[in-house]
Each structure stands twice: as C-alpha cells, then as structure tokens.
Symmetry: C2
Subunit: 259 residues, 2 copies
C-alpha cells in the first residue's frame, strides 16, 4: 500500500489574518508526515507594491508581473511570508523547509508565452523534481512552497499557488497516494455566492459546467476548480476545497471534487 | 583523510554590484563540492528601509533591528538576494538551496541580551544543525545561507553574516577539513587603509593586536577578524580574507589568518 501524502494549499484572506494563520499552522503541524504546504501571498504583496508606488494590473484574477512587481512578490512570498510560516512551524515541532522552485531545483518553470496576454514575469510549471521532494520527506523535512518558480536560466518567475499545489500533487502521485486540500476563508464551493451555508458537498464535472453557465462559479474560482479536476484526472486520489478550520474541526463543511 | 569543505562568505559592495556578483557566482559554481555559500545583504535592505520611510540605526557597524527593519531584512536577505543567488547558481549548474536558520532548523539562534546595548531583533547563534547540512552536502545540494536566524519559538532574527559563516565552518569541522573564505571588494587586510597594495599576506594575533592599537584595523573589520581567529581556534583549518576575484584569479593578493 502506498503512503498517503497530503498537499495542503493555504491562501486567500487567511494569509493576512494573523490569528487565523497561526491557528491553521498549529493544525498543519499536528498532521502526520509526509505532508507538503503550499502558500499564496494574500494581499501583502499588493500592499507593499502600493507603498513602493508600483502599479498592479490584474487579468482574470491573475496578476500581471512587471520587473518591479516580481521583486516585490519575491520579497513578500519567498521572504517574509515563507520564512514566518517556517519559523512558526518549527516552533510547533514541524520540521519545515521553505522553498521556491529555484531551491534545490525543486520545480522548473518556463515563462508564459506572451500571446494572447502578456502576463509579464509569470511562469508555468514544466517539471516537479519528485526526487528532491522525496529526499526531504524521507528525512522528515516538510516542504513549504511559495509560488515563486525559476526557468533554470537564472530567471525567477511568479507562478500561481493553486497550480503549484496541483502540479506537486500530480507529480508526487507516482510515489504516494496523494490528497490535495485547498484551504481558504470559505467553507467550500457555494451554490449561492451570498449564502455561506449553500456549500456543495460533492462537485462533479456536470454540476460544475451547469454552475459555470449559470454564473454561480465565476472569476478566480474557475482556474482553481479547473486545477482540481485536472489533478483528479492525473492520479491525485482526493481533492477538497474548504475552510482552513477543516484540518481540526470534523464538523466543518467542505466540497469534495468528484472526477 | 577528511573531505575539504569550503565555506565562502560573500559580502560588502559585491552584493550590490550586479556584474561583480554574477562573475563571483560563476566562480563559486565552478568550485568542487562540497561547498557552502553565506551571503550578506549589501545596501539594498537599507535602501528599501529608506524607501518605506523606516529609520536605520547602526552601532559599531551593526544594524539595530526594529520590528519594521526585521521585516525588511527578511524580505531583502531571505527573499530577493537569496533567491536571485539560488536561481543564478542553478543556471550555472550548481544545485543551490537557499536557507535561513529556520529552514529545516538548520541554525538555531537566541535573541541577543538587551544589555549593554539593545540591538533589537538580533540573534546570536546557539547551534548549527550539522546533520541536516550534511544531508544536503551528501546529496550534492549546496546550501546558500542568508543571515536570518530563528529562535525555535517562532521568532525570526537578524544575525551577522560573518558570524554565520564562522559558526558553520566551526561546527562542520567535526566532519570535514573546513576552509573559511571571506570575499568582499578589497584584496584583504591592508597595512595602510588608503593603499590597496598594502595587503598583509599573513596576519597573526600579534600583528593584529599591533594594528588595532595603531588604529589601522578598526570599526567593521574588528568583529570580522575576531570571527576569523575564533574559527581557527575551533578547528577550522584555513581562514582567508580577500577579493571575490580570488576564486578564479591565482594572482590575486589576499590575507591568510595565522592562529
């Protein structure tokens, strides 16, 4: 039987919520190994960009990354957030190691083609280095990935944290039974965006398609859910979207994606 | 016979000199493994601090680290500089991994006592995790340390990069024949601060003491050289101070410290 490897993505407003993040990290630290954490950046990169007088352009919920924006996201994601998370996990007896794709060449990316939209210094993942991730896991070291990649030619790239989590889960499924859990501030995917209790327990492709057509699932949720289905089609055994509290509260509602 | 491990510290103005740094990293990448890089922060943290309207206070060439300063040095040292160095080394076929002390608990520090001087969020190294560093080295992964530590209780701390290099060299000397090489923009320790050709080839404690008394060696050079002698007294086999070019140019002058 294969060992189960949980890949947990934490994002959304939780990253900016000091108490919510601290509580989530305590829960994450308590999970059995092997496990991997992938974190987003919250609003702090945008805030720092504004403070530095940079402009931030978004298309379909994705940031256009100028050279100055890239420096800022590297500082915030790979620097401040990643290292604070690692220090907190170490304090909770979880032997975390913070990683970008450049570290130990753990993830190699390529700059996204500039047509039809030029996203700037944004990368798409080409290869996850499963060997080095296994080396960490086998030595009881828990990888904590931020969504910064590199192209192997010296260029760092901004990548999407949801995609990083899905690609790691997919690649690691060759060696482990992988579960992918997306945690954010909502309890899952809602049938009615205004009703927090309208969580869809099981979301299959037919229902997803209907809800997209009806405009219920829109904007940033679409690439997130597309990542989930793609992971399920590529040997990830379980994909869940839910509130960060689901790690400790068994009564939390969440959405399970059904292939 | 023990394997030789080179611990190279790069600091000073080289960090801010794009071409000088690129050339140094090419040289570092070509060195045989095992090797470890420790980097300082140059002036970019101070520049970012100023841009963000923070104040920077220095005592004896050491930065007083306020909470806002700490966030800035984490962003610049552990984020921007560390990750750009790792991406550049990867491009040069050196399998670099960027680390703070918090990552894999590689270095544990304690906050510096607040008397006689309160340096703020500054840490002194308590323990270097030689086991995890060996794990990396044995797997052909080259650690690249920035000078950010943690206290094991969730607090990140600003540490001195010269000291980080010396402490790593000292700790690793139990397993390797360790050589500690401090690279910066000068060719070594000068007899006459205004004469770049007055490099002292061999600096022993007696000469060091004389030059300190004469005021020739002063300010920031004193803790640097103290670190060197301390390392030599603690089983580091060789300590050199010189220009970053000494890695490739055999005609470069440099200073060898003599126990």
């Amino acid at each position: 039987m294969q060992l189960t490897l949980k890949i947990i993505k934490i994002g959304g407003n939780i990253i900016d919520d000091e108490q919510g993040l601290a509580s989530f990290l305590q829960d994450f630290a308590r999970l059995p190994t092997p496990k991997i954490l992938v974190h987003g950046g919250g609003k702090s990169a945008t805030k720092l960009s504004e403070k530095l007088g940079e402009t931030t352009e978004m298309i379909d919920g994705r940031r256009i990354t100028s050279s100055e924006n890239l420096d800022t996201v590297i500082m915030v994601y790979a620097g401040l957030i990643n290292k604070q998370i690692c220090a907190s996990l170490q304090a909770a007896n979880c032997n975390a190691i913070g990683l970008t794709g450049a570290d130990a060449n753990s993830i190699q990316s390529a700059i996204r083609p500039t047509t039809p939209i030029n996203y700037g210094w944004v990368g798409d993942i080409e290869e996850v280095n499963t060997k080095v991730i296994q080396l960490f896991l086998n030595n009881n070291i828990t990888p904590v990935f931020c969504a910064i990649g590199h192209d192997g030619k010296g260029q760092l790239l901004n990548t999407n944290a949801d995609t990083v989590a899905a690609e790691i889960a997919t690649a690691m499924s060759a060696e482990y039974d992988t579960e992918l859990i997306y945690c954010f501030e909502m309890n899952g995917v809602r049938k009615d965006i205004n009703d927090p209790n309208s969580i869809i327990t099981n979301l299959d492709k037919r229902l997803y398609s209907e809800l997209k057509t009806a405009g219920v699932i829109a904007a940033g949720m679409i690439p997130k859910i597309d990542n989930c289905f793609k992971a399920l089609e590529n040997n990830v055994s379980k994909v869940i979207i839910g509130n960060a509290r689901l790690l400790h509260d068994k009564n939390e509602m969440f959405t399970t994606l059904i292939a």
